[in-house]
């Protein structure tokens, strides 16, 4: 299985260096020499949106088709051809955020907006100099429960940290490949601190599941560390675990005083949904969701569950305007519990921002269900 990268610019080169079994298609023959230096990478000079060329390269045995040219039209045509040939994973870099809908209609799974992310980052740098913007995600904590976490929650933490310019602290154990984590963090330019435990973290937590506080949070407090957000893996629960409430994730969310993100997406979010009601906590839900949408250059869909004071929605919109976030309001007609389940399960979003405690219109049972079973990442706000 190979990866096809269309566009041999800096990003393309960086990526090909990480993915040795790759084919790079570059239109500019002058770049051939530089690209040929990459070990294990085939370089083809030509138009990446030319179907004949793509057929020659072969689209049958492709793991991922990655479009990185700075021309949205080329990317669009190439993505359409790959879609037609049933390539399982198509990742597109889109320059103009207004092109989003065109790519979404095409059904491409992964769309990235580097322009928007970079613009937002630079905007933040300028603002923070004047003390105007305070990021809500400066210190991220990732409990490394198993090797899988390095691939999942840790990866999602690095993505967020890279755009939020945050530091990541990982609580890990000696059986985990900590060197791999260090190199991943270094590649993404994220400061990483590892707190090592001798015993496996998963076993420590399970052992202390009925401890009055949360063993992870209390442990880092001993190091005078107070995270802004804890990022943890999605957890598979059996019937007995559900019955006896043996959920590590729910236990952690229950006693953490900061938001907890259950990682399931492992990439930048494009569409974020936030549940908004008339309770006080919805202010925080609004703040965190705008911040996350701002960092990832995502669209924010506000699911308004009941009569929310107009000034609250206006406040969120203002935050959105300031953070260059497109906000889409959606008022519910029908039962909020059912509509929330419908929206969150729709697969249209990469992140759901939800209030943790039951707030009136959405019961805590449904909140727990979303945390355990939603198809997207979930950020619980307390």
């Amino acid at each position: 299985m190979k990866n096809i990268i269309v566009g041999g610019g800096r990003v393309g080169r960086e990526l090909a260096a990480q993915l040795p079994e790759s084919v790079i298609i570059e239109i500019n023959a002058g770049k051939r020499e530089k690209l040929s230096e990459l070990a294990g990478v085939d370089v083809i000079i030509g138009d990446g949106s030319d179907e004949e060329l793509l057929n020659r390269v072969g689209l049958d045995n492709v793991r991922a088709f990655i479009l990185l040219t700075s021309n949205d039209d080329v990317n669009y045509r190439a993505a359409a051809i790959a879609k037609k040939h049933g390539v399982p994973k198509i990742i597109v870099r889109v320059e103009d955020p207004e092109d989003r809908e065109r790519f979404q209609k095409l059904g491409t799974e992964y769309i990235m907006f580097p322009t928007k992310i970079v613009a937002n980052l630079i905007g933040d740098l300028l603002h923070s100099g004047a003390g105007e913007t305070l990021s809500l995600f400066n210190k991220l904590l990732v409990p490394i429960l198993s090797e899988n976490t390095v691939e999942k929650a840790f990866k999602e933490a690095l993505l967020i940290a890279s755009v939020a310019r945050a530091e990541v602290t990982a609580i890990s154990s000696t059986d985990i490949d900590n060197q791999k984590m260090k190199s991943q963090a270094k590649e993404m330019g994220v400061p990483l601190k590892i707190l090592l435990e001798e015993e496996k973290l998963g076993s420590i937590i399970k052992k202390h599941l009925h401890y009055p506080g949360c063993i992870i949070i209390d442990h880092v407090k001993e190091h005078s560390y107070y995270p802004d957000c804890v990022i943890i893996d999605h957890e598979e629960l059996g019937i007995l675990d559900k019955l006896f409430k043996r959920s590590v994730v729910l236990r952690l969310i229950k006693c953490a005083s900061c938001p907890v993100l259950v990682a399931r997406t492992f990439r930048y979010y494009e569409r974020i949904i936030a549940l908004l009601d008339s309770s006080e906590i919805s202010k925080s839900v609004g703040r965190y969701s705008v911040q996350m949408a701002h960092l990832c250059g995502a669209d924010l869909h506000l699911l308004i569950l009941e009569n929310v004071p107009g000034e609250r929605i206006d406040g969120i919109k203002k935050m959105g305007e300031k953070g260059n976030v497109r906000i889409i309001e959606k008022w519910i007609d029908g039962n909020p519990m059912i509509e929330v389940a419908k929206e969150v399960k729709s697969g249209d979003y990469e992140l759901a921002v939800i209030p943790w405690r039951g707030t009136g219109v959405v019961g805590s049972d449904l909140i727990r269900k979303i945390v355990n079973d939603a198809p997207c990442s979930v950020l619980t706000v307390v």
Partner: protein, 382 residues
């Protein structure tokens, strides 16, 4: 006789009164329910003797109105508040109720009455208490929630104990007593599968709750659920009102209220069936039985009704002032639907006689008027 003119005449008269009473009650400043009972007394056997309440159709509609009232009582409980405030409020409510029951039992025993009367006097009325608290702007306060949850615990536990007591009285301790568990098993099964359905099939359920479904399928489903519980309760010998109440609780737990469907059910209940029940209660009220040497019953019950609620409410003193604690006790002393229901059940099963049943109804009328008034007066300076 006008009744001969049309079999619908009694219903016609009742619905016209049901229409006029809220307008008049509003002017006088008494709850509409009280107006309905007083109207029933006037047109019933005690005063004008126009109707007996036993007319064909009226008796059935009144009895179904009673079941529907209990269904709506369950539906009106706001479980989200319990979720937000946690179990400690429930513990507090239970403590208050246990002390109420203990004092009630001891006083009733001294006066030569049995356990049934102790139960009757332990009831409260969520229906009277919630509007009074809302009027004072205390609905979202912890004080307000404490009172509401104490009233809810009192009503629910009394209803449960009423069922156990009735079964014990009729069958003694027999295996049939355990049949009542079937109702609770059904309750948990419907709740569990309902939750599952919301998560698994939100699209299908969604249309039930939206306005304008041509077949009003949501209303039909609610009636079906109500009747399943009522019929099962009847079959296993449990009070039908408990089944109806549990059906309402399920809807409240699953869907958390605030829906178009709920408004439609309120419309059917409070707009048609429930006034028939309360007017019928008045029609069957035996004023003369009270005056035949039993009039002392009312002041006696009134004093006990206040004592059994105010003394336990002194628990409020741990967090609130003495005046607030007493005001909570006074408000918890209001009784209406459930106590009237218990009078009806007690009369039917022979636990109490007609004079006592009438005294209980009069107690309900008096407390539902004066308790919210005293509560309002005690909170005037705030």
């Amino acid at each position: 006789m006008p009744m001969i003119l049309s079999p619908y005449f009694p219903l016609f008269a009742i619905v016209v009164f049901a229409f006029l009473i809220p307008i008049l009650s509003d002017r006088i400043g008494v709850p509409a329910v009280v107006g309905e009972i007083i109207c029933g007394i006037i047109i019933g056997r005690s005063v004008l003797g126009l109707f007996t309440g036993e007319e064909e159709g009226i008796a059935f509609l009144a009895s179904f109105g009673f079941i529907f009232l209990m269904f709506l009582a369950g539906l009106e409980i706001d479980f989200s508040q319990v979720e937000v405030q946690g179990a400690k409020l429930f513990m507090f409510g239970t403590l208050v109720f246990l002390l109420t029951l203990a004092i009630s039992m001891s006083l009733m025993h001294q006066l030569g009455y049995g356990f049934y009367m102790a139960l009757v006097l332990s009831t409260s009325s969520v229906g009277v208490i919630v509007p009074a608290i809302r009027e004072q702007g205390l609905l979202k306060s912890e004080f307000g929630q404490r009172i509401i949850i104490s009233a809810f615990v009192a009503d629910f536990t009394t209803m449960l104990l009423l069922t156990v007591h009735t079964l014990y009285h009729e069958e003694g301790i027999s295996w049939e007593m355990f049949l009542m568990l079937l109702v609770f098993i059904l309750f948990f099964a419907v709740y569990y599968f309902g939750k599952l359905a919301i998560w698994r099939y939100p699209e299908r359920l969604s249309k039930w709750f939206k306005s304008g479904h041509p077949s009003e399928i949501g209303v039909r489903a609610s009636f079906a659920l109500l009747l399943v519980f009522v019929v099962l309760s009847d079959v296993v010998g449990v009070e039908a009102i408990l089944g109806a109440f549990l059906a309402g609780v399920i809807l409240s737990l699953l869907f958390h209220g605030g829906t178009v469907l709920e408004q439609k059910l309120y419309g059917i209940g409070y707009g048609f069936l429930i006034p028939i029940f309360f007017i019928n209660v008045g029609m069957q009220f035996d004023l003369w039985a009270l005056t035949r040497g039993w009039i002392y019953l009312v002041p006696m019950l009134l004093v006990i009704a206040f004592v059994v609620k105010i003394v336990p409410s002194l628990f409020f003193i741990a967090k609130y002032s003495l005046k607030d604690s007493i005001s909570a006790g006074v408000l918890l002393s209001s009784r209406l639907s459930l106590i009237i229901a218990m009078a009806a059940v007690g009369l039917e099963l022979g636990f109490i006689d007609t004079a006592m049943a009438s005294a209980i109804i009069l107690l309900a009328i008096i407390t539902s008027i004066i308790c919210p008034t005293i509560f309002r007066w005690m909170h005037l300076d705030k």
